[in-house]
Subunit: 324 residues, 2 copies
Amino acid sequence: MKEISKLMNYRSDVRVIDATLRDGGLVNNFFFTEKFIRDLYLANIKAGVDYMEFGYKADREMFDESKFGPCKFCDDEFIQSIVGENNTDLKIAVMADVGRCDYKNDIHDRSESPVDLIRVATYLHQIPTAVDMIEDAKSKGYEVSCNIMAISNGQESDVKVALDILGQSPVDVFYIVDSFGSLYPEQIARIADIYLDFAAKYNKKVGIHAHNNQQLAFANTIEAVGDGVDWLDATYASMGRGAGNCAMELLLGFLKNPKYNVYPVIRFIEEHMNKLREEGTVWGYDVQYLLTGLFNQHPRTAIQFTQENRKDYSEFYKEIIAQD
Amino acid sequence: MKEISKLMNYRSDVRVIDATLRDGGLVNNFFFTEKFIRDLYLANIKAGVDYMEFGYKADREMFDESKFGPCKFCDDEFIQSIVGENNTDLKIAVMADVGRCDYKNDIHDRSESPVDLIRVATYLHQIPTAVDMIEDAKSKGYEVSCNIMAISNGQESDVKVALDILGQSPVDVFYIVDSFGSLYPEQIARIADIYLDFAAKYNKKVGIHAHNNQQLAFANTIEAVGDGVDWLDATYASMGRGAGNCAMELLLGFLKNPKYNVYPVIRFIEEHMNKLREEGTVWGYDVQYLLTGLFNQHPRTAIQFTQENRKDYSEFYKEIIAQD
């Protein structure tokens, strides 16, 4: 059982990362209004959030610019148009996917960029390229984290090898990522143990990015922070792919560090998030996402089910069962 | 950390209680159609659910019969009209609130009733009456459980005295009840420890009834079952007062006992629960419930906010802060 004295207090090493534009952008192809982005930036500053992720550094060779909003590409000039010199305590992050980012050309020197943190996202079978991206970003002056995706489908021994390789790279933070929303808090506790062991060995930090397929994104995040995980991803009103993420309003309500303030988050949700839903943007827990989470599958079939406005959960259940 | 071998297996002592009609009835004044109730009964049988709670034994002197559906009063004849002789493995439960139930007259001998389990619900300051109700129900031949409500607002020392008194009564099960949805899994672990100590001393079982104000109803329930709590309340699609309860579809997906089957639950939700929502019945997580949970308050102000179709969360936040 966790020590009650530690639960009542806080660790100053904890960092909160707002991933609304990035994970939420997967729901609306990153078509956020400029006002939305600007207000979110201001809300994060007032709420004491540590990092704001603006989106992806996606390769224009692979993605048609006309089909996505600017947060898909996160040009330095675009971010600057929102944050100016960013003379605030809020740091700026972008995500760079292995295989979908022309990092050598599209990520410029930190001295020329408003970005502070490059978040490299990789599958287990892409670790060497992830390491190359980490070294590239580090040499350009950035803080760097690395998300190992879909670990609930990977072998623990492979995860350990990956952490050992990443440990020897200049990355600052290892991220536990529950891509399919299939993990229970008990499993998060075990996984956090593994990540924290490698982090201690190589002097790294550990983070968590959770999904809400089984209504456990917040529960898994607070399990992790109780276990010693420091970097916590959240999104406003849980906005994110499929069932969404850990809700920022829940997380800031839970954290005890007086620098965090939930009220600006509540205000932003009131002004912007309900409107997004009314305009037809759909995300959040529903039975189809529970089912892909339960069966430890990628949510793509559930996302399609949602997009087709289907509600025949029992047929979907049979389709999923038949897939194996 | 919990033993992985225990997590992979199951305890045959675990019991699942469907509280949809009872806690869900608080949302629609118990106006369920007969088809809804009958289909729910059949779904519970197919799903392997252990107990189905039909509603309250409310005192007609206190509650106007014309303003509620039959599940508010749970006459034996009404339940019999659904379950007949109930020659199934599914047992029938009803709730009797201290101070709102004419138990001496309205609860008949078990030999004349389709009910198996009387669930006494009490606040800490009503324990002696709860004991009288427990003794009354036991003497009439029922299984009896006791919910101590609103413990997140009570003193631990008072809870211990209550458990010691109840331990000496003929009650079968003590229930942990997070009435305000304010407890975190870490707190549930500590509370479960206390309840399980008294249960061991007096040879009782322990149950849990959770609310979803902070999206933790399922997480708190699986925390509890991992700690040794056996009786687990859930409702279809989380239907219940305010933010609702632990979702049956999540719980049965998690439990490993092969007697449980999530598919009939999915089917029932598809046929009935989305329709209820479309007809205007409102329940489930929203920011106003998060806030009453976070501030450890009764959800009545959030329920009123919901009923008034308000969405000005930030004003509600200020109202709550001003209350203290």
